[in-house]
């Protein structure tokens, strides 16, 4: 691998985990980092998220072989413009954003002539900020690369090797297809979780205190996702608008059909769906994409 110096722009959950994972798995690689927030930079330096926390994005990327933008997708264009003047000609640009078509466009526009290989490691927790990252976040997770048609083979091989060294499995995908797949497996689940938590807070007949007390009936699962970073997720929905609206339309149709089944007392339709959905859980566990323990391995008792 010819990547010896990696610059990480944005030192939150993803950027911080990337820095820690690089240190643990590729100790020969030098890391620099930058975050627009002075408080985040200070905390990143304390935790050693990267080897050197720089005072500007330009300084962080000045000698990098690879720059990974770990900012909300709506901030990618601005981050790219900031580093453009300082960027060495050979540097590969990548990112970790959750939508890929809009990011690919923004980076290509801001950095013409550079090798840009957008990426999306499908990994995270509900936490955010410089304290949230940890070195094992990417293990056993998929990292999706969405290269343009003229991405150099050597750069693709380097980026693949790097992510695999962090424990990830790499897949290559068309950016438009990525955006539909992730709308289903990530964006719509987040939108639904945010919505139901909002709905529950706004009811007049049920108090907030009751919602909290009896959340173990299922609701609490949704509150975890709905505690995710608001800026990041606002940007995801705005940048992947088309695919999100498409999948949301399908979801709403299906929900309406179940609503009708409940209204009509049609237990068979309900039972058929509820039986079908079990098998997907089994496959997810078999393929190592979730904890096999009941209840995610939550602790029961005191």
């Amino acid at each position: 691998m010819s990547i010896e110096r990696v610059a990480i722009i944005g030192l939150g959950l993803l950027g911080g985990s990337l820095g820690l994972a690089l240190r643990e798995n590729l100790p020969g690689v030098t890391t620099t980092g930058y975050d627009a927030s002075p408080a985040t930079r200070a905390r990143a330096a304390q935790r050693g998220l990267v080897g050197t926390v720089c005072d500007s994005a330009a300084e962080a990327v000045a000698e990098a072989d690879l720059v990974v933008l770990c900012v909300p997708v709506g901030a990618m264009a601005q981050a790219a413009r900031e580093i453009a003047p300082a960027l060495p000609a050979h540097t590969i640009i990548s990112d970790v954003g959750s939508s890929k078509q809009s990011v690919a466009r923004a980076l290509a526009e801001a950095l013409p002539g550079h090798v840009v290989i957008p990426a999306h490691p499908v990994a995270g927790t509900e936490q955010s900020g410089p304290d949230a990252g940890f070195a094992t976040l990417f293990r056993q997770r998929w990292c999706i690369l969405t290269p343009g048609p003229d991405a150099p083979e050597a750069a693709m091989a380097d980026l693949t090797e790097l992510w695999e060294a962090l424990g990830a499995k790499v897949e290559i995908m068309d950016p438009a297809h990525h955006d539909v797949v992730l709308a289903v497996t990530s964006h719509i689940p987040h939108l639904i979780a945010y919505t139901i938590v909002g709905t529950a807070s706004d009811l007049e007949d049920v108090t907030q205190s009751e919602v909290i007390k009896y959340s173990a009936g299922g609701f609490r699962d949704f509150t975890r996702i709905a505690a995710s970073d608001p800026t990041m997720w606002r940007d995801v929905f705005l940048s992947n608008r088309e695919a999100v609206l498409e999948v949301l339309g399908r979801f709403s149709e299906d929900l309406t059909a179940l609503q009708r089944a409940i209204r009509n007392g049609d237990g068979e339709t309900l039972f058929d769906l509820f039986s079908r959905t079990r098998t997907i859980r089994r496959s997810i566990i078999e393929q190592g994409q979730d904890d096999a323990r009941p209840d995610f391995g939550r602790e029961h008792g005191d």
Copy 2:
């Protein structure tokens, strides 16, 4: 507490956990049990879910001070009719069903003259059957009692003491209010989870294999809930139809508003909601209703 003999009808996740929790916390109490499935009875005997597994519901309840019906809510009436002829006059009848108005009606009708105190321990996992139960399931969880206006104080005190001995916290609630609260905190979350997992399976553009591979983006959380017992949940939606449809209507309105915000590029509406929903998560953790560890304490890495 004057309850010395408890009969458990239905030896799945809830019934089995109740039996194990009684043995662990109230070893002086004698337990009998019955399940309509011979295979479940055999497994229950092997695991020692109750002291004696009986060959009929009538035999199980013949000397009981308390009978707890742990069958799907749609099977409560039939279970009550089965035990009616064998039930001693002093026996308290309770249950663990997730909807309370319909169960209260069914039990009162099948067992006139008996003390009936419906109950709902808000606890569970996505697993079901005689292998799923464990003794600590009820610890730190709320158990909601929904007594009718003439429930005897002594019976209420006994039932409360029993659940508290198993580690639960007891709350008393009007059955109609229970059904709305649980529609929000449990039933609608389950319905939504089942729906999105169904939607994801049925898309033409995204393969099942892709849904599984990239499920760590949020989707996998929903698959856990959508792996819950189909019979139990069909019955819940049919028996709590009115409250479920009411809350579902509110959810759909809220989802439509977000859909419009995404279509219009209205980031402020999205950001406002996404910021608001974080605080509920914090309260749930503060009140001991969920694991405080990120990602529910899931294991990361290998």
